[in-house]
C-alpha cells in the first residue's frame, strides 16, 4: 500500500484514503462548445501512458476530500511529489535524475 502525501492535510496517509482521478493538467476549454472534433478527442479521450514520470490527479476522498495533483513514476510507483490543484506543473522535480 502506497503512502501519499496530501498537500492540503500536509500529511502522508495510506493509499486507502485516496482515489486516483486520472491524468492531470488536462484543462477543459472555456469555450468547449466551439472545439473541433480533433481537439475534443485530445481533451476527452487521449491520455498519456508513459513509462516513467506521470502527472495525475488524486482525491483525498476519505480525508479532506480535496483533489490535488501528484507526480509519480509508473515504473517504481513512487510518488515524486504532490501539489495543490491549480498549481502549475512543476518545472523541476525534486531528486529527478532523468
Amino acid at each position: 500500500m502506497l503512502l501519499i502525501r496530501c498537500p492540503y492535510c500536509e500529511e502522508e496517509r495510506p493509499e486507502l484514503e485516496f482515489r486516483n482521478a486520472g491524468e492531470a493538467h488536462i484543462a477543459r476549454s472555456a469555450n468547449i462548445d466551439a472545439e473541433s472534433d480533433d481537439d475534443f478527442e485530445k481533451f476527452f479521450f487521449i491520455r498519456a501512458n508513459p513509462k516513467g514520470v506521470i502527472y495525475e490527479r488524486w482525491r483525498h476522498i476519505h480525508g479532506c476530500a480535496r483533489f490535488f495533483n501528484a507526480v509519480r513514476d509508473t515504473v517504481t510507483d513512487k510518488f515524486v511529489m504532490t501539489y495543490k490543484a491549480g498549481e502549475p506543473k512543476p518545472a523541476k522535480l525534486p531528486g529527478a535524475s532523468k
Binding site: 500500500m1 502506497l2 503512502l3 482521478a21 484543462a27 477543459r28 468547449i32 462548445d33 472545439e35 472534433d37 475534443f40 476527452f44 490527479r57 482525491r59 476522498i61 476530500a65 480535496r66 483533489f67 517504481t76 510507483d77 490543484a85 491549480g86
Partner: protein, 1002 residues
C-alpha cells in the same frame, strides 16, 4: 515409551511430555514440540504422500517451509479440514489427526500410480497436446476427468468456524527472519531505543542454529545464545517479537504483511483465540534476514521416501532427537552434508558412505568425517536410488562413467549447496544479481529502504553474517530516525562468534546420473513432478526463456513456488540452451512466500461485516408490516408489502391499482440528496445539468439531467430551488456518491472560481412519497404553514413548513403520473411522520407500496430509470428527453460531446414503448429485438428490452426498449427471439397511462 527412531540424549525436546496423534487412522506417540514430520519420523514413518501427477510415493524432503512433498490433510472436525498442510511446519498437539492425500484406496497401494508407468503420456506440456482432439471431448470428457483427478487435499464443505484477527503496526526497524543474523540485527537496532519488530516463521527462534551443532556465540551454543537473545529482546519495551509469524508479502514503501499462526498448534483453541492474525506493518527500515535454503541433488529416483536434504536430517537429529534412518547414505557436492553425516555418526547412526561429486575437496569437516571412519568417495555420483515406498539402496558410479556399485541404505542425505532466500527482497522490487563465482543470485539493486544480511545476502559463515547483521541493524535504526534523533546509540555489545561451521559452494542443475538423453525420473520440482528431462524437452520444443520453460513444464509453479527447484531448473535450461544462467533469467518471486489462508486475509470482513447495510428511518415500520426487502447497493429497500395469502404478483398488482385509484405511501429516503448552496449555485447548476436553472423561480422544481463530458446520461433527478442561492438536488439511489464526486471534481478543478458549497444530505432527510388522487387529503391535515392548493402549490414546486410539528421540505412532484408529494423530514422524525401519514392514508384506503410497484407505475408513464433504461451510451435525445436540454445554453458538461458525429447520426438506438401482440406475455428484460424473424442465426439485433412488467392498471404487459431508429418505427412489428419461439411486439410511444398527463392534477 520411546518411538523407535528417537535417540535418547539427542535433541531439545522434553521426552517426558508426550502427545498422541494419528496418521491415516493409525495411532502414534510423539513429543510436545515435535512437528508432525519429526513425530512421524521418530516412529519410522517416511511414506506420507503421493505426488501430484505420477502419484509417486513421497516422504519428507525438508524440515521447514520449503517442503514440496509432505503435504497432508489436518482434520479437527467437519468444518476444519485443512488440506495441503506441510507436515514439516505443522506443530504436534495431543490428538492431532492427519491424513495423506492424493491416493486411493490407500497410501501404500494407490491406483493412480498407473500414471507413473504411463508417464510418457504425461511429459511436459502434455495438457496442451494430449487433450486437443476431438474438440468436443474437452468439455465432456477431458475437463471433468482432469478436474476430478487434479488437486491434492479435500476442501472443507462447511463455512470456516474460526475467526481471524488483524493488526496494523508501525516501527522504525522490521527484521524479517529470526536466525543468527536477524537476531543480531534486532539487538543492534533495539539497543538504540527505536521501535523494532522481529518475526520468524518458526515456533522457536534460531534459524539454522537449530541444527548447526558447531556454532558458539558469546560463550554459549548457538541455539542457547539465540534463546537468551530473544529473552532479552522480549524484555525490552520497544521490541515486539513474533514467532510463528511468516512475512509473506513485501509491498510498496516498506509495507510488509505477516501472518501469525495463533492457535493451529494448540490442542483445543478456545473461541477467544483467533486462528491466525494478519499483521500489516509499515516500517521505516526493513532488515531482511531470511537465510538460505538447501538444494537437493538431481538424480534418478531422488524422490523416494527417505531421500532428504542433509540439513533436514540434521534438524531432525539435533533439534527433535530423531534419526532419519539406521544406515544412511550421503550424496553431496558441498561440505554441509558432511556435518550431517558427522552428527548422525556421533549419535550412533551408521553412515554407509559419503558420495561427493567433487574431485578433491578438503577441509576440517572432511577430515573429521574421515577420522570418524566414514567411507568417503570423491568424484563419484549416486546415479540412482533403489526401493519404492522407501529408499533401499543407492547406486554409485564414477562421475565420468564406469563400474556401478550398489550400497544398501535406508535414507540418503543430499546437498547440492544453498540458495539464498531472495524471495522477499525480490518482492520488494529489488533486482537480483548473479554472482558467477558462487553461482547464485544475490540481492543487487535495492528499490526500497531495506537491506539484506546473512545467508540471504550471500554472506558465508556465521561470524561474517553476525557482523554484517549487527552493523546493518544499527545503521537501519539510525537511518530510520534521521538527523533529528536524540543521538542515542547502542550500549550493548556485538555478539561474538566463538565457533562456526563453514560451507563451501555446491552445484546447480542435473548430476551425472540424470545426464542428457536419459528417460529416467530425476526430479527437479517434486511438488509438480517436473524432471530434468522435462526441462530439456521444453528447451528442445522451443521454449528459450525461463518464463516459457516454467509455464510449459510447470517447474516452480506449485504452492512451494520452487523454493528447492528454481535454480536447478534454470541451470538445466541454461545448459541445454548453451547460454550463461543470467541470460536465461530468473523468474520473479511473488507474494505470498508460503500459502496464506483466505481467512487471514479476509479477517472479520465476512458475513454481516463484509459490507455495511444501510437502512432507512422507516425501515422498522416496513419490517413490522411484513415487507419483503430487496438489496439496492448497500440499502435494504421495501420491495413489496404482501397481505395474507398474497404472492409478489398479487401484492404488486394491488399496490399499483390502489395508488392510481386512491393513493399510496412509498419510502423514498434512499434517493441521493445534495444541497448546492452559495452565491454562484445557479451558475454551477447551469454547468452541471443540461437544463436552464438561472430563471427557475424560488419554490419551483425541475427535472434535471446530468451528462458526462461525452454527452451520455450520467444521472437524473428532481431539483428544487429553496432560495436564490440554495438548491435541493436529488439523485438516483445508486448514483449519489458518484454524482457528489463528479460535482466536487468540477467545482474544485474546473470551476473553482464559483462560490458554491456542496453537502451530501442523503441521510439527513427521510422521504415519504405520497402519491395518488387522495395524496393532498392525506397530507394536508398534518401540515402547518403551507398552502397546498393547486393554485398556491402547483405540480413541480417545493415549500418549507412544518408537518406533525417538525420541519419539512414538501415537494409536489410525481414519479407515478398521479398527483403526488414527497415529504422530506429530518431523518430522526421519519418513522413518526410516516406513521402519522399512514394513519391518514388508511382513512382513505391508501396502500404502502414498495420498489416493485414504484417501477411498474413509473414505466406505465414512460419515466426512465438511469442505469436500467440507459447504459452509459444513451443521450438525452435517445431517451426522448431532448426537451430537458437547454437549447440556448453555451456551456454545460457534455455540451460538446452531444455534437460528436456519432451522437447526431441517424439510426441511433432510441427508447420506445413495446407492446406484445399477446397482452398476457411479459417480455424478459435484456431480451434482444430483431426485425426479420426468418433470418438465419446469428440474427442482426437492432435493440433490446430495458424494462418490462405486467401492468394491472393497463390489463396487459408493458415494456420499454432501446431500438435502432425506434421513433421512426411506430406501430411496426418487431420480434423478440426466445428459446421457445418468437414473440411479436409492436413499437409504441413510451406512455401507457394518461398520455396527456392530466392525472398529475387529478
Amino acid at each position: 515409551m520411546n518411538a523407535a527412531f528417537r535417540i535418547s540424549g539427542a535433541g531439545r525436546l522434553s521426552q517426558a511430555r508426550t502427545a498422541s496423534f494419528s496418521f491415516d487412522d493409525k495411532s502414534y506417540t510423539g513429543i510436545e514440540g515435535d512437528t508432525l514430520a519429526s513425530a512421524l519420523l521418530a516412529n519410522g514413518v517416511h511414506l506420507v504422500g503421493r505426488s501430484f501427477k505420477y502419484h509417486r510415493p513421497r516422504g519428507f524432503l525438508s524440515a521447514g517451509a520449503e517442503e514440496p512433498n509432505a503435504l497432508v490433510q489436518i482434520v479437527r472436525d467437519d468444518a476444519r479440514k485443512t488440506p495441503n498442510v506441510r507436515a514439516t511446519v505443522q506443530e504436534l498437539y495431543e490428538g492431532l489427526t492427519a491424513n495423506s492425500q492424493n491416493r486411493w484406496p490407500s497410501l501404500a497401494f494407490d491406483v493412480g500410480a498407473v500414471n507413473d508407468i504411463a508417464s510418457p503420456l504425461f511429459s511436459a506440456g502434455f495438457y496442451y497436446k494430449t487433450f486437443m482432439w476431438p474438440k468436443s471431448a474437452w468439455k465432456n470428457l477431458y475437463e471433468p476427468k482432469i478436474r476430478a483427478a487434479a488437486g491434492l487435499g479435500v476442501s472443507p464443505d462447511k463455512p470456516d468456524p474460526d475467526h481471524y484477527a488483524a493488526r496494523y503496526a508501525h516501527c522504525e526497524v522490521l527484521v524479517l527472519g529470526g536466525g543468527a543474523a536477524g537476531i543480531a540485527a534486532a539487538l543492534a537496532a533495539a539497543e538504540t531505543g527505536v521501535r523494532v519488530i522481529l518475526c520468524d516463521e518458526q515456533a522457536e527462534f534460531g534459524g539454522s542454529l537449530r541444527f548447526e551443532s558447531g556454532a558458539r556465540i558469546d560463550g554459549e551454543t548457538g541455539y542457547a545464545w539465540a534463546q537468551s537473545a530473544i529473552a532479552k529482546l522480549k524484555a525490552m519495551d520497544n521490541v515486539r517479537v513474533l514467532s510463528r509469524a511468516t512475512a509473506f508479502g513485501y509491498y510498496a514503501q516498506n509495507f510488509v504483511a505477516l501472518v501469525e499462526r495463533v492457535s493451529d498448534h494448540l490442542k483445543s483453541p478456545g473461541r477467544e483465540l483467533a486462528r491466525e492474525r494478519l499483521w500489516q506493518v509499515r516500517a521505516k527500515r526493513v532488515v531482511i534476514a531470511t537465510g538460505a535454503i538447501e538444494r537437493h541433488m538431481v538424480f534418478a529416483n531422488n524422490d523416494r521416501p527417505g531421500v532428504m536434504l542433509a540439513s533436514a536430517a540434521r534438524t531432525y537429529l539435533n533439534h527433535y532427537g530423531v534419526a532419519v534412518g539406521r544406515n544412511v547414505g550421503v550424496y553431496t557436492a558441498n561440505d554441509s552434508a558432511y556435518a550431517a553425516a558427522i552428527d548422525l555418526k556421533k549419535a550412533g547412526v551408521n553412515i554407509a558412505a559419503i558420495v561427493d561429486l567433487r574431485d578433491n575437496p578438503s577441509g576440517p569437516v572432511i577430515d573429521e568425517a574421515r577420522t570418524l571412519g566414514i567411507e568417503i568417495n570423491f568424484g563419484r555420483a549416486v546415479v540412482s536410488a533403489g526401493g519404492k515406498l522407501r529408499v533401499s539402496s543407492m547406486t554409485v558410479q564414477p562421475k565420468n562413467g564406469g563400474g556401478e556399485r550398489t550400497i544398501p541404505v535406508d535414507a540418503i542425505l543430499m546437498s547440492a549447496g544453498w540458495t539464498p532466500s531472495v524471495h522477499l527482497f525480490s518482492q520488494s522490487r529489488g533486482k537480483v544479481a548473479f554472482n558467477d563465482e558462487t553461482k547464485r543470485f544475490v540481492p543487487g539493486t535495492y528499490a526500497q529502504d531495506c537491506v539484506s544480511v546473512g545467508a540471504c545476502n550471500g554472506t558465508d559463515g556465521l561470524a561474517a553474517s553476525v557482523d554484517e547483521a549487527y552493523a546493518a541493524g544499527a545503521k537501519a535504526a539510525k537511518d530510520a530516525v534521521g538527523k533529528d534523533s536524540s543521538g542515542k546509540t547502542g550500549k550493548g555489545a556485538k555478539p561474538k562468534v566463538d565457533a562456526s561451521e563453514s560451507w563451501s559452494r555446491g552445484m546447480l542443475g542435473a548430476a551425472p546420473g540424470a545426464g542428457p538423453g536419459t528417460t529416467i525420473k530425476a526430479f527437479v520440482d517434486f511438488q509438480n513432478d517436473v524432471t530434468a528431462k522435462d526441462i530439456r524437452q521444453a528447451v528442445h520444443e522451443g521454449m528459450h526463456s525461463i518464463e516459457h520453460v516454467k509455464r510449459f513444464t510447470t517447474n516452480g509453479m506449485a504452492t512451494d513456488q520452487g523454493k528447492t527447484s528454481n535454480m536447478h531448473g534454470l541451470a538445466i535450461a541454461a545448459e541445454t540452451l548453451g547460454k550463461p544462467i543470467p541470460q536465461v533469467g530468473l523468474t520473479t518471486f511473488r507474494a505470498p512466500y508460503t500459502p496464506v489462508t483466505f481467512g487471514s486475509i479476509v479477517g472479520h470482513a465476512r458475513g454481516a461485516l463484509f459490507d455495511p447495510t444501510r437502512r432507512t428511518a422507516i425501515h422498522p415500520w416496513a419490517a413490522r408490516q411484513g415487507a419483503v426487502f430487496e438489496d439496492v447497493g448497500q440499502w435494504k429497500r421495501a420491495w413489496y408489502f404482501p397481505k395474507a395469502g398474497e404472492d409478489m404478483h398479487a401484492a404488486v398488482d394491488r399496490e399499483c391499482v390502489t395508488v392510481r385509484k386512491v393513493g399510496g405511501l412509498f419510502d423514498a429516503s434512499t434517493l441521493g440528496k445534495i444541497e448546492v448552496v452559495g452565491p454562484d449555485a445557479a451558475k454551477f447548476m447551469e454547468l452541471l445539468y443540461t437544463n436552464p436553472w438561472e430563471k427557475l423561480e424560488t419554490g419551483r422544481c425541475r427535472y434535471g439531467i446530468m451528462l458526462r463530458e461525452d454527452g451520455f446520461i450520467y444521472d437524473d433527478g428532481v431539483v428544487g430551488r429553496l432560495a436564490p442561492d440554495r438548491f435541493h438536488v436529488t439523485t438516483t439511489t445508486g448514483g449519489a456518491p458518484r454524482v457528489m464526486n463528479h460535482m466536487e471534481d468540477y467545482l474544485q478543478t474546473e470551476f473553482p472560481h464559483l462560490n458554491v458549497w456542496l453537502t451530501s444530505i442523503t441521510e439527513q432527510w427521510a422521504v415519504v412519497a405520497v402519491q395518488g388522487p387522495k395524496s393532498r387529503e392525506i397530507i394536508a391535515p398534518l401540515v402547518e404553514g403551507i398552502d397546498m392548493s393547486d393554485e398556491a402549490m402547483p405540480h413541480m414546486s417545493v415549500r418549507e413548513g412544518k408537518i406533525c410539528g417538525v420541519p419539512t421540505r414538501l415537494f409536489r412532484m410525481s414519479f407515478t403520473g398521479e398527483r403526488g408529494f414527497e415529504v422530506n423530514v429530518p431523518a430522526d422524525y421519519g418513522e413518526a411522520v410516516w406513521e402519522a401519514l399512514w394513519a391518514e392514508g388508511q382513512k382513505h384506503g391508501a396502500t404502502a407500496y414498495g420498489t416493485e410497484a414504484m417501477h411498474v407505475l413509473r414505466a406505465e408513464k414512460g419515466y426512465i430509470i438511469v442505469g436500467q433504461d440507459t447504459d452509459g451510451t444513451v443521450t438525452p435525445n435517445d431517451a426522448g428527453l431532448d426537451w430537458a436540454v437547454g437549447k440556448k445554453k453555451t456551456d454545460f458538461v457534455g455540451i460538446r460531446g452531444l455534437t460528436r458525429p456519432d451522437l447526431v447520426a441517424k439510426g441511433r438506438k432510441q427508447l420506445v414503448g413495446l407492446k406484445t401482440k399477446d397482452p398476457k406475455v411479459v417480455l424478459e428484460e435484456g431480451a434482444q429485438i430483431v426485425e426479420d424473424p426468418k433470418q438465419p442465426v446469428p440474427m442482426k439485433m437492432i435493440g433490446h428490452v430495458t424494462s418490462s412488467y405486467w401492468s394491472e392498471n393497463c390489463g396487459r404487459s408493458i415494456a420499454l426498449g432501446l431500438v435502432a431508429g425506434g421513433r421512426d418505427r411506430m406501430r411496426q412489428t418487431l420480434y423478440v427471439p426466445m428459446p421457445n419461439g418468437m414473440i411479436e411486439v409492436e413499437v409504441t410511444g413510451m406512455v401507457f397511462v394518461d398520455e396527456k398527463g392530466e392525472r398529475l392534477n387529478g
